[in-house]
């Protein structure tokens, strides 16, 4: 039996055993993955460590097989007639997709509670949320159903669930990975990225999905470095910046302690740690939610029941095809964001809201440009608190939005950022640290993360559910 067949069989077994208790998977591709493993008879290509490896893909990334639902009722039966660029790259590299993962509907949310399918549970404790929106991918990796998964990150949707689930997740530089085939939430912020159990795996997966794609005008034609071979290179002089704005009052004491201890570890590895300033941080959430809702209101206009997706039964006229199909097909959070975004773009409000947000975005970007004159990476907690319980914040959209407070700036600035585990609370829930880097400097972030993981084993700790 080939390694691929063995890998897939054991992934499917784990999914069978564990997923009913985690509900990370939106769709499980047993037959397809098995037959693909069987036909993947080519000798293992030494250049592709992903050959024959099971991978899970977030269900807002188009695949030719199966459905692409975005965890929305409006796309519950949608089958894409084409595959995303990242999916084509995975297949070329010999990876085997074993299923699609759950998410907050159209990637809008921080807990998977907004999934139109069902919520995913945190593998460390089913009373806790797994984070979101890539909660399914993070939970699948955390419970070791797969070691590799793809997520998408618009305002922390990879890093925040990675942190809540104790796995590693990377949001690449905007334009590093093609968005072709990623169902758009906010086009100027969205980026596909890897989730995995360690930094080495992140480097492997990023190396496969990164690179130019002529079908995405915003995808850069910048050479893709060999991330894996750079992991062990000596870091030389490493300057890590720490911003007071990312250690505010809202930071949970245990989170603070774990991150401070990680800083000490990095110092022992030779890092120089200094203060940097990111003075516009206080505007990040407002700026982010104006831009992402405005773009979302336009991106989601195409879901109208005319060509595909849910269409209301017996509409009275074409207007009702729209109004009822959309009213029935979208969940509450998606509707909220469409309305906010529509408002922000309305005549008479555009300058006051959207245009102002664009100007603030420039200031936020400049904050980072200046900070990166003094350091190579900026370290912070990924989230102010560890994972919280179901229902704890779902009553207040604003409180929910604030869970992304340390994540959205990287999307607004277009810079890469990753999250890796750096501790656990007394209740045993994981804590994550975030590293933000310069444009196209994923290699540096991965190097720091990898070398940190050579001297720590937070990333090796598994939830009891895996046992």
């Amino acid at each position: 039996m080939s390694q691929a067949i063995e890998n897939v069989a054991s992934a499917l077994t784990r999914i069978d055993q564990i997923d009913p208790r985690v509900r990370a998977m939106a769709a499980i591709w047993s037959d397809r993955a098995t037959s693909r493993a069987e036909t993947l008879s080519a000798p293992r290509d030494a250049k592709s460590p992903l050959w024959g490896m099971p991978v899970a893909v977030k269900d807002n990334i188009c695949t030719l097989d199966g459905k692409t639902t975005c965890a929305s009722r409006i796309l519950e039966d949608f089958q894409s007639p084409y595959a995303a660029d990242v999916v084509e790259r995975l297949e070329r590299a010999g990876a085997i997709i074993v299923g699609k993962t759950n998410l907050d509907e159209f990637a809008m949310g921080s807990t998977t509670e907004n999934s139109g399918l069902f919520p995913t549970l945190n593998p460390w404790n089913p009373e806790y949320v797994p984070g979101g929106s890539s909660g399914g991918s993070a939970a699948a990796v955390a419970s070791r159903m797969v070691e590799f998964a793809l997520g998408s990150d618009t305002g922390g949707s990879i890093r925040q669930p990675a942190s809540f689930c104790g796995v590693c997740g990377l949001k690449p530089t905007y334009g590093r990975v093609s968005r072709y085939g990623l169902v758009a939430f906010a086009s100027s912020l969205d980026q596909i990225g890897p989730l995995a159990t360690n930094a080495w795996q992140l480097a492997v997966l990023l190396g496969v999905i990164a690179g130019h794609d002529s079908r995405d005008s915003t995808c850069f034609d910048t050479p893709v470095p060999d991330y894996v071979s750079m992991l062990n290179e000596p870091m030389g002089r490493l300057r890590i910046g720490v911003a007071a704005e990312y250690f505010g009052d809202g930071v949970h004491p245990e989170t603070r302690k774990a991150v401070e201890s990680a800083i000490e570890t990095l110092k022992k590895l030779g890092a120089e740690v200094s203060e940097v300033r990111l003075p516009h941080t206080k505007y990040v959430i407002a700026c982010y939610y104006l831009i992402c809702t405005a773009e979302a209101s336009s991106n989601l206009a195409r879901f109208d029941g005319v060509r595909y997706g849910h269409r209301t039964e017996s509409p009275k006229d074409y207007f009702e095809v729209y109004s009822k199909s959309r009213a029935e097909g979208f969940g509450a959070e998606v509707k909220r964001r469409i309305m906010l975004g529509t408002f922000a773009l309305s005549s008479g409000y555009y300058d006051q809201y959207y245009n102002k947000a664009l100007r603030v975005r420039t200031l936020i970007r400049q904050d980072f440009d200046r900070a990166f004159e003094q350091c190579d990476a900026i370290l912070s907690p990924t989230t102010p608190t560890p994972a919280f319980k179901f229902g704890e914040k779902s009553h207040s959209p604003l409180e929910m939005y604030l869970t992304d407070i340390y994540n959205c700036a990287a999307n607004l600035a277009g810079i890469p950022a990753l999250s890796i585990p750096c501790g656990h609370t007394s209740d045993g829930m994981p804590i994550g640290l975030q590293l933000m880097g310069k444009h196209f400097d994923e290699a540096k972030l991965l190097q720091i993360a990898h070398q940190f993981q050579q001297v720590t084993d937070f990333h090796k700790k598994r939830p009891a559910i895996c046992a």
């Binding site: 084409y82 906010a186 079908r215 915003t218």
Partner: protein
């Protein structure tokens, strides 16, 4: 009404479909009347996750069009989304250009109905994608064909500088000639490749000097020159009458209103007022990057545009003695005009050239269902053919045969035009000895005609013509008709002198 001073104020919005091979944001080919929805892909169907990529050719055509309209070209031009829901709009937003159009601040000259040339200001010209087509089939359903969705359009917006329907008509015709001349659009009205939306209102000044302005009517989606004129004429009348009935019928009170044109009844029909106007919620298209052009690129595009058709027409009439009809053919497109000028510059007689462009070359092109510029000929061949006719080496009708031969064998295989004429046996006989021998033969066989020519003034002219015709027959068409005519006349004169 006779005491009122009426001044129509007319601006035009024109959509011109660009003659690219593929759509504006995807590689689907543009094909008129193809099987519905057969020219579509994830991008133009607006499928989830699909992304647009700008067609550079469309952008360059827009730049050429903008320059020809005397516009400034934006060094940086960006895309915007214009939101509105309609079933023929796959994304429910149109990718267009809002605040940074590719071209702006131009002016375009037309020959106005009063005989003067008028400059019509151009506010802007921008690129946008077309929508698909809704096909309403009865009461219970509509089918949508998205083949047209994503077709590149150049939208040209004029200043309200036009004050009568005839000039609006002329502007549209001149614009059609321009875009065809530049090769940026086929501007085929039958295929909807040019569509017009006049904005019309009227300034009415009463004898006491008070000026009133009627509400602006935007007449949507006209697809013929005739309907442009008809709709404007109708609107001017309608607005004046409406104001006469109610002096509150003003722009200040009513704003801008949309009308449609009923082609059968030749009337405009109210669609919606300002209250129902859309909020398009424009915002910058995040899926596309701005398109940039540096000064040197703009200058090289400007050089490609050169002199415009109207100015060329004036010059051709003056310098080359062309008629307007001739100009229609020779100014069909830029390569044809340049072919003509190059041939004229190399010494061929313009009159003969014009004759051959209109006769020989244009006929050849239409026989083979193509255009002069696509015949694959060069200025050398064109000039030589004209020179051979002028020199009497070949006949005018032989020129057509030679042209046909050149077209069929291809320019690369073409030896000198004179060699072809010789090979085809089309060189005219100009040897006087040979010609006189033929003349003798003809005279010997046609005594009656000679008698008529010499003695019957009523029939003299016809008889001489008959003799020339007989000579061409005897010479199997090889005789140079002019020289032959001269010799026949000489011989008749000699006979006449002898008789006296």
């Amino acid at each position: 009404m006779s005491d009122l001073k009426i001044r129509p104020i007319i601006g035009l919005e024109v959509h011109v479909q660009l003659a690219t091979r593929t759509k504006l944001f995807c590689p689907c080919e543009l094909e008129f009347a193809a099987e519905p929805n057969s020219r579509t892909c994830p991008v133009c169907l607006g499928l989830p996750g699909a992304l647009p990529v700008m067609n550079r050719q469309a952008f360059e055509y827009a730049v050429l069009g903008g320059l020809a309209l005397g516009c400034d070209i934006a060094p940086l031009t960006k895309w915007d989304r214009k939101s509105y829901y309609y079933p023929d709009m796959p994304k429910n937003y149109q990718t267009s250009q809002y605040d940074l159009p590719v071209a702006f601040d131009g002016s375009f000259e037309i020959l106005a109905s009063d005989g003067t040339t008028k400059k019509i200001g151009i506010i802007r010209a921008h690129l946008e994608e077309d929508a698909g087509k809704n096909m309403h089939e009865g009461l219970d359903h509509t089918r949508v064909d998205l083949n047209r969705a994503g077709t590149p359009l150049l939208e040209i917006v004029t200043q309200p500088d036009i004050d009568n329907a005839d000039d609006a008509y002329t502007f549209c015709v001149e614009l059609q000639r321009l875009v065809r001349f530049l090769g940026i659009s086929d501007a085929d009205m039958q295929k909807g490749q040019m569509r017009f939306e006049p904005n019309v209102n009227v300034s009415i000044t009463t004898p006491d000097g008070t000026e009133y302005r009627t509400p602006i009517s935007e007449v949507k989606n006209l697809n013929s020159f005739r309907s442009v004129r008809g709709a404007i004429e109708y609107e001017i009348q309608r607005q004046v009458h409406a104001w006469e009935d109610d002096h509150g019928y003003t722009l200040a009170n009513k704003g801008k209103q949309n009308y449609g044109w009923n082609d059968a009844r030749e009337v405009t029909e109210f669609q919606r007022g300002k209250e129902e106007s859309h909020d398009y919620r424009y915002f910058p298209e995040p899926d596309l990057v701005p398109a940039m052009l540096d000064d040197s690129a703009i200058e090289s595009f400007r050089a490609r545009v050169g002199e415009l058709p109207l100015a060329r027409e004036r010059r051709y009439i003056e310098c080359y003695g062309m008629t307007q009809k001739d100009c229609e053919i020779i100014l069909a497109d830029l390569p044809t005009a340049e072919l003509y000028e190059a041939a004229a510059n190399s010494g061929a007689d313009p009159k003969t050239l014009t004759k051959q462009f209109v006769g020989v070359w244009n006929q050849l092109a239409s026989t083979h269902n193509t255009t002069i510029s696509r015949l694959g000929i060069n200025s050398e061949v064109v000039a030589d053919l004209a020179k051979l006719v002028d020199a009497g080496t070949i006949s005018a009708s032989a020129a057509s045969q030679i042209a046909e031969h050149i077209y069929k064998t291809g320019i690369a295989q073409t030896a000198g035009v004179a060699d072809i004429a010789a090979k085809l046996g089309l060189i005219q006989e100009r040897d006087e000895g040979r010609l006189e021998a033929w003349i003798d033969e003809v005279f010997a066989a046609n005594a009656q005609a000679i008698e008529d020519a010499l003695q019957n003034p009523k029939k003299a002219k016809a008889a001489a013509g008959f003799l020339r015709g007989q000579l061409m027959k005897v010479s199997q068409g090889k005789a140079d008709p002019k020289l032959a005519g001269d010799l026949i006349e000489k011989k008749l004169n000699a006979l006449k002198d002898g008789a006296d």
